[in-house]
């Protein structure tokens, strides 16, 4: 309660500095008047009373300052004044400031861009509820020297019917279909999916409903679920399209749902979902056609799921007839085994290695930028050497000088960080437009709040860290020896030379 009062009072004083000062002035002069009146009452002449009151009171200006300095806001006030002063100093040296800000911004901006890519590609979870439980159902066929075999319809049904570790199993494949009867005939990319596809992702259509078992069987009527983008492009977002039939590859199919606008799947471009309508009774054993995904039951890990798949693989041979002309021994010798991966890892693949190498490279660029900025700051502090020495001689504490130098660095860092965000934003936009086709999740890449915090933190941290070098050289507690030689010394002292040549040597080696 009283802390709150402290805070609000302080804020009010900061906001109405003049009124607050006036209040103190009035109180002080009233005190003096009363004091004078009291002396008059004791028989002093007006002049004597004034003198006596003044004597008793002490310096009115001192008292005023004393009262004003009592609140916390006063410290803030001094800090703000220092910040303004530092900003003015930076503005007075536009070349230095521009060079420093640009160097920092380039170094930090590149780091931020790559950090954002890493964050969005590698770290950000897939856009489904509990996406950490989603796995891609891949297989190996060591007999055929295949490391990444996809999913067969027979195995899909086997997993659905026999699994102990999967909550839901779905199968999908990408294709295209021709839409007629609307305007111009149009060829659109489609995803053929089984009924378990959307339930496994835990995605509900924004309008309408998911595919039912009947929709997914040849016995049912043909149905389709549209993506939000295609629905808006073709039907202007009209919800009455639900229940309408559109001609897909010449077959009338009823629109039973519209996907949410945010729905995306494995970087695929598609305009609609079609049910696969597989006939369970006519699926042969060897029918590798599609990609599979499954949602693990809560608490199940990848090893347990793999063991479960290994258990189920032989079951399929008993459940499904062998293809005509194929041999049972041939299927056995293919030695099909599980190769489960988390869906996210399946999507990002081994891009992580590339990205981390990039991050390392950019980190070195960042260090070079930092060394440059440190050098700039050092030159700058060198120029102020005399001033700092004079200030120290006049009684400025080394803390005060250090704060001065660091504030300048901090402002530089903040400006650099802000510019870095702009640069990184531009770089990521360019990446999305011209970027490599094989970079996964490229359209999900953006500067998340964590990347912003990262940028400002890095820029500020770097500026302060490198700003410490001149502080340690010129503003550490010691005797003001700068006064001796001063700004006009004949040659650079050995010490001044050291730090700078060390930094430039660093840069040479980095290159």
């Amino acid at each position: 309660m009283s802390l709150w009062r402290q805070f609000t009072r302080g804020l009010r004083v900061l906001a109405h500095r003049q009124a607050a000062d006036q209040d103190v002035d009035d109180e002080v002069s009233h005190y003096l008047e009363e004091s004078m009146a009291a002396f008059r009452a004791r028989g002093f002449s007006p002049a004597e009373a004034r003198r006596a009151a003044r004597m008793e009171f002490g310096g009115a200006a001192v008292v005023r300052e004393q009262v004003r300095d009592s609140g916390w806001e006063n410290t803030i006030g001094i800090l703000l004044a220092d910040v303004r002063y530092a900003a003015r100093r930076l503005c007075a040296r536009p070349a230095f400031t521009l060079a420093g800000v640009l160097t920092l911004a380039l170094g930090t901006g590149a780091t931020t861009a790559i950090f954002s890519v890493i964050d969005c590609v590698l770290w950000k979870p897939l856009p489904y509820p509990h996406s950490e439980r989603l796995v891609a159902l891949r297989h190996t066929a060591r007999g055929l020297k295949m490391a990444a075999l996809n999913l067969s319809a027979s195995l899909y049904f086997t997993y659905r019917e026999e699994s102990r570790t999967f909550e839901e199993v779905g199968m999908w494949s990408a294709g295209s279909a021709t839409i007629t009867g609307l305007a111009e005939p149009e060829d659109v990319p489609v995803l053929s999916v089984t009924e378990g596809f959307l339930p496994a992702l835990e995605v509900q259509p924004a309008f309408g409903h998911r595919f039912t078992s009947l929709d997914d069987s040849p016995a049912g009527e043909r149905t389709v679920i549209l993506t939000d983008a295609w629905w808006k492009a073709r039907f202007g977002g009209d919800p009455s399209v639900l229940g309408r039939r559109i001609l897909i590859d010449g077959n009338a199919s009823e629109v039973i749902g519209i996907l949410p606008a945010s729905f995306a799947f494995m970087d695929r471009r598609f305009s609609m979902l079609l049910p696969q309508r597989l006939d369970r009774g006519r699926v042969p054993l060897i029918s590798f056609c599609c990609e599979g995904l499954a949602r693990l039951r809560p608490g199940v890990n990848l090893e347990q799921a793999s063991a479960d798949v290994a258990r189920m693989l032989p079951l399929a041979t008993a459940k499904f007839p062998l293809n005509p002309g194929a041999s049972a021994a041939g299927y056995r010798n293919a030695r099909i085994g599980p190769n489960l991966r988390f869906l996210k890892d399946d999507l990002t693949g081994d891009i992580g290695n590339t990205l981390w190498v990039l991050m390392g490279t950019v980190g070195i660029v960042f260090l070079i930028a930092g060394a440059n900025v440190a050098n700039l700051l050092l030159v700058r502090a060198d120029g102020r050497r005399h001033e700092l020495a004079v200030r120290a001689a006049l009684g400025a504490s080394w803390m005060r000088s250090a704060r001065d130098l660091l504030l300048e660095s901090a402002l530089l860092g903040l400006a650099g960080g802000a510019l870095a965000l702009v640069l990184a934003y531009g770089a990521l936009r360019a990446l999305a437009v011209f970027g490599p086709e094989h970079l996964p999740r490229i359209h999900e890449i953006r500067i998340e709040p964590i990347a912003m915090a990262f940028t400002l933190g890095v820029a500020l941290g770097a500026a302060l860290l490198f700003g410490l070098i001149p502080v340690l050289k010129y503003a550490r507690p010691r005797l003001p020896e700068g006064l001796r030689g001063g700004g006009r010394s004949l040659s650079e002292s050995r010490e001044r030379h050291h730090a700078r040549s060390f930094l430039s040597r660093c840069r040479l080696h980095w290159r």
Partner: protein
């Protein structure tokens, strides 16, 4: 008489201000005069310390202030005790009495 005046013991000024204001609302000079009179000139209040103390006590929520007409028709800032200020006065008085009694016992034991 001036020679006798003693600087206020650190930390007692707040208590004396609260005590003085517990009777009625007063302005700064009035409080200072009252403390001097009641202590028979033993305590002389430094105006700077007094005005600073007002700021502090007000922020602690122990004092309220308001500008109004003083008895001799001058505009003055009057301070008054808040409810939590009254409570604080009780706390400080009790603590002071405890301490003073302890010191008195110590001095007696020395003698």
């Amino acid at each position: 008489m001036e020679e006798l005046s003693t600087d206020l013991i650190q930390g007692t000024l707040d208590m004396l201000i609260l005590k003085t204001l517990s009777l009625e609302a007063m302005h700064g000079f009035g409080i200072s005069r009252r403390i001097e009179q009641v202590s028979r000139g033993v305590f002389k209040v430094n105006p700077g310390s007094l005005l600073t103390a007002f700021q502090r006590l007000e922020r602690m929520g122990w004092l309220d202030s308001e500008w109004r007409q003083s008895e001799n028709a001058r505009r003055a800032k009057f301070y008054s005790l808040t409810r939590s200020g009254r409570k604080q006065l009780e706390i400080e008085t009790a603590a002071w009495n405890r301490r003073a009694a302890a010191i008195a016992r110590l001095l007696k034991a020395e003698a």
